[in-house]
Amino acid sequence: MKITELSKVTPSRLTLKSWATLDDYRKQIANCKSIDVACDLIFKSIELAVIERPKWDDIFWMDVSDLYIRTSRANQPIIQFPILTSKTEKDDFPWEYPGRTWLFWLNVFAKNYGWDEASIATLDIDTAIGLYQEIVVDEQMRDEWQWGLSEKSVEYVPSTKKSKFVPLSRPEWMQAVAKPKKIVKTKILKSMMPAGLVVNLDLDDS
């Protein structure tokens, strides 16, 4: 087994098209039924981000796994986008297939901004995700406006004999986070205080 210099190799940060391929490989690895195929996908993932093409069969597994993990880390979004914090698990859609990730991104930006393939392919990952979030927010706002104009947005409440507006539900990551209630200090009249000697049992305040 070769002692390699792979630990000194720094994986590069990929642009959108290569990153989409890397993400696609990651999904394929998770669904892989064969170890040989999974290994091949791991090697391909690393080769996207490093120039070296070593003879993988001769390399200690730890060197490969270390480089694979560093490749994944180097290609994670730097900004913590709210859209990435959604906890709902996505099921596999019937229209899913290997290699779809890049075409998904291409479709998103070509449809919304009219950019050509070359411009989209060279986008930075954070820019792409940030723009995607803006597109989703715009779509949600437009849908909410249209929802507000439809009859379905108003619900009749028989107990109050009035109509109530039913807002369009938002994705989890777009919902406002409830802040803890502020406790208001209330002054109490001296006459309402307990009579006699008051002993403060809270030693910290004494």
């Binding site: 087994m1 690895i29 998770a30 669904n31 892989c32 039924k33 064969s34 170890i35 040989d36 999974a38 290994c39 791991i42 090697f43 993988w56 069969d57 001769d58 390399i59 200690f60 597994w61 730890m62 490969v64 796994s65």
Partner: protein, 100 residues
């Protein structure tokens, strides 16, 4: 019979066999003998033979002809040199656990 450092394919094959015998809570700093004895207690003869075959690179027939203590030593050495806990952890992180 000597234990070898494994390449990715063989390492993942080894992890796929031993995955079910290594508790997820096993600490990376655990004494080697603690979990190795637990593996040896539960592993089937076929799986053991396959593991030694991967670790040593010897054929199954050649392994069968070895003295059992040598085979066991090679197995334990192989697990130690190939950092079995890290290997299984990496194997699990790939999501291959129930597929391969």
């Amino acid at each position: 019979m000597k234990a070898k450092l494994l390449n990715l394919q063989n390492a993942l094959r080894l992890a796929s066999i031993l995955d079910k015998y290594i508790d997820e809570k096993t600490n990376a700093n655990a004494e080697a003998l603690d979990f190795v004895s637990a593996i040896v207690d539960k592993i089937t003869p076929d799986e053991f033979l396959h593991c030694v075959n991967l670790i040593s690179g010897e054929t199954k027939e050649a392994i069968k002809q070895q003295i059992s203590i040598d085979t066991l030593t090679c197995f334990v050495e192989g697990l130690r040199e190939n950092q079995i806990l890290s290997l299984v952890s990496f194997y699990r992180s790939l999501g291959l656990k129930n597929n391969a």
